[in-house]
Symmetry: C2
DNA sequence: CGGCAATTTGACTATCCTCAACAGGGGTGG
DNA sequence: CCACCCCTGTTGAGGATAGTCAAATTGCCG
């Protein structure tokens, strides 16, 4: 009966803390939902009404200034958790970058369930602590790194996060990776706190230096991973 | 017997989730410790060996690039929690900005205690979620705001965080606040991702515009809070 | 009152942004 | 199937913001 048995993130998401019986209850209050690129699940400033687990795809978390500048403050991949449990407004929007499948819960229901299942809350705590670590590392990039360092860091991190999750990583030669970016140039700029032009120029520079190749818009072949790591600062 | 009864943050820190008996156990595995300005409690990259509650004072969380650039990734105030429970290395150093008093625990002991006390873990989860929200808001500042917006935002947030906690807030006239900054100019620069010179120039500009006054190095009198909010973007 | 560190100020520079034009490529409709 | 078009990305020129380096000043502490 439970879809969860077939769920590909069953053992990596916070659900991994639950036994079969508990999982059935959780399953009964959630439902899966598909979202297409550009479609939002949660809007910035809205009351937090739903939370979710990512099953497939990549989504961005983003905030905007009043005059429309955007900053992407997080990127979530399969098995990641999204939303703001336990009250409050969501400080950022959540929007799909690719076709995505998520397992959504009403925040109210999820909160109640979580409070009765300490193991679930524990998993969520570990995940949140990890996300906070990652976010703080990102602050160093935003505040202190140059444009070349920013793009190099971005590519290194994207290889690491996409690498294990089957979104298009493959190494025939050591230090070589094929990346299919779930980001447009504008979105990369919004992650790095740069403009689209600066991102583009850094891409072509890396290509001219033989560090990467750009077979098409969304594809990056990394020819010299070590050089990227070195340049990431 | 328990020091906790006298603790000024007893009802605001994560300890608020515990009853008298539980608190006594927690108290038995922790001890208070004083740290002076510039003194570190935790170093970046180190294995996480201790966690703590802040009782008094202000501390910074900071990361550095290999070549010595620094970014402050968090500032903690009384009742805040510091350290990285549940394994891992601490991704940032923790250093006192003022004289501070903290209630420290060995991470190992704390982890074990927390796992047995879901209400404590719940409080910690809420606190961590809040900190993540705050951190993400800070990313918008680092990635997308100009120097004038950055300093204005910094002053607004510092008023709000110091305001309630008795560290030197007072309003005789509406919109007027007296701030005693726990930061040097360099530290403000490290929070905002700017240089010390730029921070200084923005301070004098605000002073010349009559938005603030600078009676001495560490003191800022805010004359027109609304103007700051408007400039914060 | 003197010494020292923190901060401010000034002059100059570099990086990144802005604005504008151009190119490429993927999809659609003829 | 091909031509066209539109969107995304690239390239270029010029400018603004913030950084760098250096010197002057201010407080602060003994």
């Amino acid at each position: 009966m439970s879809n969860c048995d077939l769920c590909v993130v069953r053992n990596r998401a916070i659900c991994a803390s639950l036994d079969a019986k508990e999982l059935e209850v959780l399953n009964s209050i959630g439902r899966t939902r598909k979202v297409g690129p550009g479609e939002s699940l949660i809007w910035e400033g809205e009351d937090s009404v739903l939370v979710a687990n990512v099953i497939e795809g990549v989504l961005k978390l983003s905030t905007n200034t009043e005059d429309g500048r955007e900053q992407i403050v997080g990127v979530v991949y399969p098995s990641d958790f999204i939303g703001r449990p336990f009250g409050g407004k969501s400080g950022h929007g959540v929007t799909a970058l690719t076709d995505a499948k998520v397992c959504v819960f009403s925040r109210r229901d999820f909160d109640a369930f979580a409070r009765e299942h300490p193991k679930l809350e524990h998993k969520l705590l570990e995940r949140t602590l990890g996300e906070l670590d990652r976010t703080r590392r990102w602050m160093l990039l935003l505040g202190r790194k140059s444009a070349p360092e920013k793009l190099a860091s971005f590519l290194v991190e994207t290889v690491e996060r996409l690498g294990g999750s089957g979104c298009g990583a493959d190494g025939d030669k050591p230090g070589q990776h094929q990346l299919i970016l779930p980001f447009s140039r504008q979105q990369i700029a919004d992650v790095l706190g740069l403009t689209i032009e600066t991102v583009s120029r850094q891409f072509t520079r890396l290509k001219n230096e033989g560090v990467i190749d750009l077979p098409s818009r969304r594809v990056v072949t990394i020819l010299d991973f070590e050089a990227l790591v070195a340049e990431a600062g």
